[in-house]
Structures are given as C-alpha cells and as structure tokens.
C-alpha cells in the first residue's frame, strides 16, 4: 500500500516560563492511502499536538517542531514556505475539530463557509461552488441542503454542525483528513452516526483518516491501526485487533480495564490507572509510565524502553512486555 504520510521521530516542544514542555517526544508512524489510523491517549499526552504539527498549526511562540520529519506525498512539510503550506491545508490535508459548536464562524452562513474553501483552493465560481456545497451537504446526510446553505450555524444542532465540518473537510477532496476528537462533544447516539459517516465516506472516497480520540470504543470499531500515546511518546503500535486482544503495554492494558463494559458482571469494580500523567517539563531518565505501572522493575527507572516488535506489525515500548498477564484474554 502506498504511504501518503510518514512521520519520523517528530518532536514538538513548548517553551514556557515553567520550562520546556516536551509535548511530542519522538514519534514515528505512517499512514497509508485510504487507511484509518487512530491515536489514543489521555488528555495532555500530546495526541492533538502531534496532529497540529502535521499542518504546522502549532502556535509559535511558544511552540515549535524541534526535530524529526513529516513527509506527505513526498513533500517535506516542515520545509514548505508559508504560502506552500497554505495550499496543503484544507486542500490536501483537511482537519475536523473537536468542538462543532464553535468550529463554525457564527456570523457567516453555512453556504459561505463551505464555498469559501472551494473558491479559495479550487478557484470555483460562486455558482459552481454553491452547487458543490449543496451536493456535499447531501453527501453528509443533511436534508434540504439548498435551504441549509442560507442558514447560520446557530440554526443547526451539534451533530448537524459536525456534519457540516465533515463536508467542509471533504470539500476539496483531500488525501488525508485529521479528526481531532470529532465526537467528544456529541451525544452518544450522534457519535455513532458521525463515526459511521466518516468511515463510510473515507472508505468510499479513498481518503485516509487520522482519528484522535481517548475513546477505545471508537478505536475498536473504526480504526485499521492504532497508536497508543503516553507522555509524548507512542508506547504501543499495532492493528486494532492486536491492541484489543493482545495489549502488550501496561498502559494499554490499564486503559482497556478502565472502560466499563456491558458484557462484564455489573458488580465488578472498574480498575482505573492510579496516579496522574507526568509533568512533561520534567521527565526523568526512565520510562514515563513507571510511577503508575504495577509491572515496573528496576530497569524501568534508568532506561527508556524503545518500541520493539511483539508480533507481526505490533510493537510495544516496555521492558516487561513479554511477562504481562493477559486478563482480557483470560476473561474471554
């Protein structure tokens, strides 16, 4: 499969008065054409920053990509000029944001916001852009699209707005869409609809999708491959199936155990991960997860484990990866 995005050893840091925050600390992954890749992790683990880095949207100052490379369709994203990166944004890599309630400009009509991208990137005339905008709204399942075009964002519900955001992202037929927690602000029933919609459309149009989420349910159903992030690093990589059935990092294991499941006895207590994520301004010498890890050994305090293969296409960054008990597998 053709790789469209290759991220290698990406490092993004924020220089604040409290110290240097190593928000993304050397992550490497690839995205193939038409593939859905999930990035999972707690709040503040660097998953949004890693996504924003791809479009060079990190506010500078205080943030900066300090190392690594991002190659998209053979282009070195980090070396592009401002004018060149603007031609990539929205045109070839589109983004869907977390909050549909505020991601649309309240003073512009839906139609205007959709046609603006089309006119800007594809040079469409107003008439053609309007027709295309209506077609896009129809495609994301919004009824009576012609009328919706003349409406303002406050006329629409959260789910509808997220559909509009998806239509905007799809409008220029990009090769890659980055969705930053696209369903976090929505009702559960709407979440499923939006995710189904994104999966159907990306599969049908052959668009690759990076979906950033902290919801493992999303990962299981919709992602082809999964990157689990902790404290700015990818600590486990693999297919959704592998991550689910053979979690090989204590953190992944902990994440899976802290999700309430309907198919488990109701009296059973949840088993949360104890403690707090580490302060990214002072990471010690060893594994960042060590203070919260129940499998930690002496080696973990001194040496940072690298991603090493567990099985075909499945890697984990843990010294103890081969001696973890597998309670999920045992239970089933």
């Amino acid at each position: 499969m053709a790789k469209i995005l290759e991220i290698e050893n990406l490092q993004t840091q924020f220089f604040t008065s409290a110290g240097t925050v190593r928000a993304v600390d050397g992550i490497t992954y690839t995205v193939n054409r038409g593939e859905t890749v999930a990035i999972v992790g707690e709040s503040g683990c660097g998953k949004s920053v890693s996504a924003l880095s791809i479009l060079r949207l990190i506010p500078d100052p205080p943030g900066r990509v300090v190392g690594g490379s991002i190659r998209f369709m053979g282009m070195d994203i980090l070396a592009l000029s401002d004018a060149e990166i603007r031609k990539v944004r929205g045109r070839r890599i589109a983004m869907v944001f977390q909050e549909p309630m505020t991601s649309l400009n309240p003073v512009l009509t839906i139609g205007r916001q959709l046609t603006e991208t089309l006119e800007h990137h594809l040079g469409m005339a107003r008439e053609a852009a309007n027709a295309r905008a209506a077609e896009l709204l129809g495609m994301v399942g919004i009824s009576d699209p012609e009328r919706r075009l003349t409406q303002y964002p406050h006329h629409l519900s959260g789910g509808m707005r997220q559909r509009v955001m998806i239509a905007m992202a799809l409008s220029c037929e990009p090769e890659l869409i980055i969705a930053d927690e696209p369903t976090t602000a929505l009702d559960v029933t709407i979440q499923a609809q939006i995710l189904e919609l994104m999966r159907d459309l990306t599969k049908r149009l052959g668009v690759a999708l990076i979906i950033i989420t902290h919801n493992l349910g999303v990962v299981a159903r919709y992602a082809d491959r999964v990157n689990v992030m902790y404290a700015g690093k990818i600590i486990e990589q693999g297919s959704a199936l592998q991550i689910y059935h053979q979690p090989s990092h204590p953190y992944t294991l902990g994440l899976l155990k802290s999700v309430p499941r309907l198919d488990q006895p109701r009296k059973e207590k949840l088993d949360p991960i104890q403690g707090q994520p580490p302060d990214l301004t002072r990471l010690g010498a060893g594994c960042a997860f060590r203070p919260r890890c129940r499998y930690a050994v002496e080696r973990c305090a001194n040496e940072i484990p690298a991603l090493e293969p567990v099985s075909e296409g499945h890697t984990s960054a843990c010294w103890q990866k081969d001696s973890l008990d597998q309670p999920l597998r045992d239970a089933s």
Binding site: L57, P61, A94, M95, F97, Q98, T102, L104, N105, H120
Partner: protein, 299 residues
Amino acid sequence: MTVSDVRIDPDAERAVERTPRPAALLGLIARYPLGAAGAFVVLVMIFAAVFAEAIAPYDPEDNAFEYMFTPPGAQFWLGTDDFGRDILSRIIHGARTALFVGFVAAVIGATGGLVLGVASAYFGGWFDLIIQRVMDVFMAFPLIILALAVVAVLGPGIDKVIIAITIPFIPQCARVVRSSALAIREMPYVDAARACGFSHARIILRHMVPNVMAPYLIMITAFVGQAILLEAVLAFLGLGVQEPTAAWGLMLKSGAEEYAESAPWIPIFPGLAISLAVFGFNLFGDALRDALDPKLRAQ
C-alpha cells in the same frame, strides 16, 4: 417526486421566523425609550443636513444688514446675527457641516482602529506590543489637545479638521476592538480557518472582523457625538472651518464673544444645537450598546 421538488417557500418561512418589522420597531422603542429619543434627534439631524436647501427658510450666507440683530419672532424664528443672517437657516446648514465632519471622522477613525485592533490581537507577540505602545503614546494626550496639535501643524480647513479628529479616534477604537478580538482569536473557528489554508489577511477581514462589529458600531456612534463636539470646539477656537461657512462652533464663537448679553439668541441656539446633537448621539450609542450586548439584554 424528488426531494428538491418539495420546497418550502423561503419567504413564507422567514415571515414565521421573524417578528414583522413595524411591531419589532415598536418593541425596540418601548424597551429603549431614551435610545429612541436619541435616534429621533439623529434622524432629524440627518434629515436637516440632507434637505438643508429645501427646509432652510433663507440662504445661510446671505447678509441682510437691514435685519441685523432681529430677535426671534415670526419672520426669523430664531432671530438673526450680526450680519443679518437667519440663525435657523444657519443651524440647519450647520447640521450638514457637523454631520459630515462627524461621520467621516468617526467612520475613518473607527475603521482604522478596527483593522489595527484585530490585526494586533491576531498576530500577538511583538507586533501587538509595538502597536499597543504606539497607541498608548497617542492615548496619553487628551483628545482635544491632540486634535489641536494636529490642526496647528496642518492648518485650518475642513479636510484638516477631519484628519485632526480622526487621529485620536484610531487608538481608542483599536484598544476596544483588540480586547474583543483577543477572545475571538481563541475561538476554534479561527483555527479552523487556518486549517483551511486561508491567508492572514483573509482570516482577519473575513473571519474576525465581522465578529467584532458590535463594539465597532458602538464606537462609531460614540465617535460621531464626540467628533461633532470636537469640530465645534476647533471652530470656536478659530482652528476649524472658516467663515462664512455655517458651522455651529463658529456661530457660537462670534455670538459668545460680543453679543452674549446684547443679543443672547445668537450664541444660545447654536449652543443648544451642539448639546442636543451630542446628547442624541450618546443616547443612541448607549441604547445600541445595550441592544447589541446579549449579556445586558438578558437582564
């Protein structure tokens, strides 16, 4: 039958969504009686300025020495001045000067401040710091002193008066707009616009400026009142428009200097016109601020 055949008549729907206009207007008047009074004064002024030739009973610059110092009466409603010119006609024509200077200065000043303020908030960092410190320098001077200094440098004349009044307005509006734009800048739709690949200029003008229209419009109405007052002050000090142009400050000056006691109607009526105009614009501006601010409206 396809979906597009089942169309709701858009006009019919809009009529349902919105209150009919006359009723909405009455509602506004009931809610903001002072604002309505201010709006009335503003409208009367605009009407007088636009149709000055048709309304004014006499030519405002026509000297009629046989009628000098006529007190208010049936022939000259507000009396005549020391050149026998009809004061009512001069006030009506003076409204044109006042409004012209007021609107042009207010719109240019507020617009300049709008662009600077939004750009300052959007770019932040050094750009913001430098712009804001320059604005601080301008704001350190009282309005009138700054205007006087500019006129003293440029010389008298209506165009120079407009420039002199515009310059102190720019930093005032820039400061207010910047504070609103700082909040807008953090909104996800601005990030979304950047993620769509739009240029800085486009994001500022198309995506941020429309969101700070409320403070901008309020600043304009406040500025028009201030500009009218400033224009009158400059004329009164002999630095603004020159005789024989009909201007309220000028009329007040010639009247107040010599005839305050012997012919008090000469200074009183232009003075009243100035006060009423500024009062009207301020009332209107206050009501506009209340009406455009959802937080105040809720109370």
